[in-house]
């Protein structure tokens, strides 16, 4: 087992650490940070925007670059949160609480370095965790038949309801809507067109990039334009980068706790990384000896959520790589990228494409290292980028979205659909519904239906098949338990508290 792991890692290293793949990783990290640091652009929009750039690359390089874009965007988001108190994504909302206070006290450099170091540590641990956990999980997944897959996806969707931040009922509504949207196109089993309104351009269904860019790109821009005012930037230059011994002592324990929590929650479907950063912040606020400082620039309040969200971001690759099931919208985009590269995501990726599988894992560590080594000296550049006013920025983001969507199928209908989803995403956000469960359900929809119908054929139309097979039963019971727990009034209150961390 151990030697197997070593030889696998060696294969991964030999794949990922070639000059060209390291360059793609580096390019991904830089591009990701570059776009992620721009206010109002989270990882989903960043990856969706940059996805077309990887179409012509070989699969390993494409995925390595996309993964790099992901950590880059994540880290860029934290930089923006600390410097201008404008978290680009929900998981850096808590980083902004203490990080921005530190920046106001002239300790921006320290906060940024802490975020980078905590993320690097968490990323390293999580990478090893993936290498350890992925093979047994993929082995297990190979035993999965249609009923198990269906139940697993039910669990995934239930978890995304549980972990969504808004109203539970609306999260469920968004899931159903996402599943319905996935029905558009030609039915794989019978070949009959569904919801295509006799339009040939709908015959292949709606492309997930169109949906993602509409909801996260265009919709987000409209939302940002609601707060259409000049921003103030705290500092023109960042100095005093390195934390001293005293600081390091203070961040060790929070980083460790954040890493453990983040690694565990990241595997769960539906925005685990976000919950991880919220939860780790609340834990530190309770257990830290410096809890009185929280909200006023406590360095622990930066280290804990940053390590948690990076660990979570990393371990969210586990279900994607081993089961072919995305645990958040970013992983949904990764799955889409695999499909574009002609690779069917699932447990067979590890056995049929070992170089790709282990290459991605080995590249994660390299990517995390690049982040630390590059970003600390380049903070000056990022600061200058943040000062670009949003009213000059968003038209350019729209250009990227429009051309990106057009390049997927070379169809202007996709551009129009993106506009429609942008408006829809904006309207739903005004009504308090998050787009994440919708996107997740959309990606899972087709697979779910296929497995459901196959399961029914295997069992001769007996729905009991889901309860008779032990793995499937376990998954469904877990899903029901999760629902019961989240619906119980006591926990409901706790959940609301967890998502509403007061500054």
């Amino acid at each position: 087992m151990d030697s197997g792991l070593l030889s696998n890692l060696a294969l991964g290293i030999s794949t990922a650490w070639t000059f060209s793949n390291l360059m793609y990783c580096l390019a991904g990290v830089i591009l990701g940070t570059l776009v992620g640091v721009l206010p109002g652009l989270g990882p989903v929009a960043t990856i969706a925007m940059l996805l077309p750039m990887t179409f012509n690359l070989p699969p390993e390089s494409a995925l390595i670059m996309l993964a790099g874009i992901y950590y880059g965007a994540q880290y860029g988001g934290s930089t923006t949160a600390i410097l201008v108190n404008l978290p680009g994504e929900t998981s850096s909302v808590v980083t902004a609480l203490d990080g921005h206070q530190m920046a106001r006290q002239g300790k921006a450099g320290k906060a940024l370095a802490t975020a980078a170091l905590a993320s690097f540590f968490a990323g390293t641990v999580a990478t090893f965790l993936i290498a350890l956990a992925a093979p047994p999980l993929a082995d297990l997944a190979l035993k999965f038949g249609a009923p198990e897959y269906f139940s697993l996806m039910v669990l995934g969707l239930v978890a995304s309801i549980v972990l969504a931040s808004g109203s539970l009922l609306h999260a469920f509504g968004m899931i159903l809507l996402g599943l319905l949207l996935s029905q558009v196109g030609t039915d794989v089993i019978s070949g009959a067109p569904r919801y295509t309104f006799d339009q040939p351009w709908l015959a292949d269904g709606i492309h997930f990039v169109v949906l993602a860019m509409g909801m996260y790109g265009v919709g987000e821009i409209i939302r940002n334009l609601e707060h259409d005012e000049k921003r103030e930037l705290m500092m023109k230059s960042v100095s005093g980068l390195l934390p001293d011994k005293e600081d390091l002592k203070r961040i060790i324990a929070p980083t460790l706790r954040g890493t453990v929590l983040g690694s565990a929650l990241g595997i769960l479907p539906g925005g685990g990384a976000m919950l991880a950063s919220f939860a780790s912040y609340s834990i530190e606020k309770k257990v830290s000896p410096n809890r009185a400082q929280f909200g006023k620039g406590a360095i622990e309040g930066v280290a804990a959520p940053e390590s948690a969200n990076n660990a979570g971001a990393q371990t969210s690759f586990i279900p994607m790589l081993t089961l072919g099931i995305p645990s958040n919208p970013v992983m949904a985009l990764m799955i889409g990228a695999l499909i574009i590269q002609g690779i069917q995501p699932g447990p067979t990726v590890m056995t049929e494409q070992p170089a790709l599988f282990w290459g991605i894992i080995a590249s994660m560590w390299a990517g995390n290292l690049f982040l630390v080594v590059l970003n600390l000296p380049m903070i000056g550049v990022w600061v200058r980028l943040i000062t670009v006013p949003y009213h000059l920025l968003f038209p350019v983001i729209l250009v990227f979205c429009a051309i990106g969507v057009m390049s997927v199928n070379n169809s202007e209908y996709d551009v129009w659909l993106m506009a429609l989803f942008g408006v829809l995403g904006y309207v739903f956000s005004k009504l308090g519904s998050e787009p994440a469960p919708l996107l997740l359900a959309f990606v899972l929809g087709e697979l779910m239906e296929e497995n459901l119908r196959r399961a029914m054929i295997i069992s001769r139309g007996d729905p009991m098949v889901f309860l008779e097979r032990p793995i499937s039963l376990t998954l469904l019971v877990t899903a029901v338990l999760a629902l019961v727990v989240v619906l119980s009034p006591a926990l409901r209150k706790k959940r609301e508290e967890a998502f509403q961390e007061e500054p």
Binding site: G173, Q183, S190, I222, K230, P395, L398, M406, E412, R460
Partner: protein, 154 residues
């Protein structure tokens, strides 16, 4: 514009949207072969999903009359319209007129979604980003969009 029908407008309007989409889904799926549980036709799953969405919508609408909820904050109508029109126009122009005019229109129209935009910077941004995106996407990444399209005789 706040229509005071209920004390929980988010639940009410959200539920209404679910109801409309769910009903439409069921009606359209009625034309598809339903099949049986053993051999599900193409209409089975969409019909079930449509009914479920109607169910959620109904609960949401009823709930809106039973309890208080958050208000709906005003929409950024102008930004929404300008951004949408700009993106749609890009789709219309991209192939026929070409990438450069399409990007110029996209930038020049959408920019007015922000009240901070001024004519000269917008014009400059439109020109620079159209040339830059032609260099990056058409020349660099091989996206099959010409700088100027058939409408200009190219």
């Amino acid at each position: 514009m706040q229509l005071n029908i209920t004390q929980a407008p988010r639940d009410f309007w959200g539920g209404l949207i679910y109801l409309v989409i769910g009903t439409a889904a069921v009606f359209i799926a009625a034309d598809y072969e339903r099949g049986s549980l053993l051999r599900m036709g193409p209409g089975y799953v969409p019909t079930v999903l449509g009914y479920a969405l109607c169910g959620v919508g109904l609960i949401s609408v009823v709930r809106a009359f039973l309890r208080h909820g958050d208000r709906i904050m005003p929409f950024a109508v102008k930004a929404m319209l300008l951004v949408t029109v700009a993106v749609v126009a890009f789709g219309v122009l991209a192939r026929g007129a070409g990438l450069v005019p399409a990007v110029v229109v996209l930038v020049a129209v959408s920019a007015w979604g922000s009240q901070l935009s001024r004519p000269l910077p917008v014009l400059l941004l439109a020109v620079v980003s159209s040339v830059a995106s032609w260099l990056l996407f058409t020349k660099g990444l091989g996206v099959p969009l010409q700088a100027f399209g058939a409408w200009f005789g190219f």
